[in-house]
Subunit: 107 residues, 2 copies
DNA sequence: ACGTTAATTAACCACTATGTTAATTACACG
DNA sequence: CGTGTAATTAACATAGTGGTTAATTAACGT
């Protein structure tokens, strides 16, 4: 179990946040595809992916010479849980329907 | 409007995360009280508070020589919104009652 | 005005983070 | 086997982070 600060640290870099969001939108992708979109070298991306992996945010699957990356749902849930644990601080200023409905049943 | 990576960066430091959680639990507190609990000097804490303020996570209220800090609900909501926007990735592995109930109505 | 207290800013140091290019590893394929 | 491709690790340069102590600013009490 990695610590919450590590999760936040992993997402504090624009390149890494973009990678996570792209993987969530498009699903599993090889490292090479992620390099194309980002304006950095392959080694730089490789290290960003290592940071994300060590923080538990993504997992790696090997297929031939490719390394396929995907987002770990559990990591996202860790953050979601944290916000829900402290929801008293943001529910007061709700104005989005989804958020409103999500708390409607008042657990 | 600060960027999401700034918010994550602000919470990626253990001292700052602890400050935010304490302010959420106890409400508005002066800088001095926050220094007592943390094992760092006053100037160090002052700079952490500056980072939190610039990221929009806390706000400062002046009262005499004291600087009273409190958490900005909007900042927390920014993170909550982000997780809700991508909830498809963590709702699959739900096992906590609160989270379960929160999505029960299937918005 | 003076001294005290609360907090911040300044100046400095050690360590980490992030980028680069070059070298290495591992698999695929003729 | 050699060659090519995918990706990582190595080595290095530079910028940013976070800690300290010393100095500064601002408000309060006498």
């Amino acid at each position: 179990m990695t610590h919450l600060t590590d999760t936040f640290a992993a997402l504090s870099d624009p390149t890494r946040l973009a990678v996570v969001e792209r993987l969530m939108a498009e699903g599993e992708l090889p490292a090479g595809r992620l390099v194309e979109q980002a304006d950095i070298s392959a080694p730089a991306m490789s290290r960003h992916l290592k940071v994300l992996r060590q923080a538990g945010l993504v997992e790696q699957r090997i297929q031939g010479t490719s390394r396929l990356y995907s987002v770990r749902a559990q990591a996202l849930r860790t953050i979601a849980d944290w916000t829900l644990d402290h929801r008293a601080f943001w529910e007061a200023s709700m104005d989005r329907l989804a958020t409103h409905l999500a708390l409607q049943d008042g657990d």
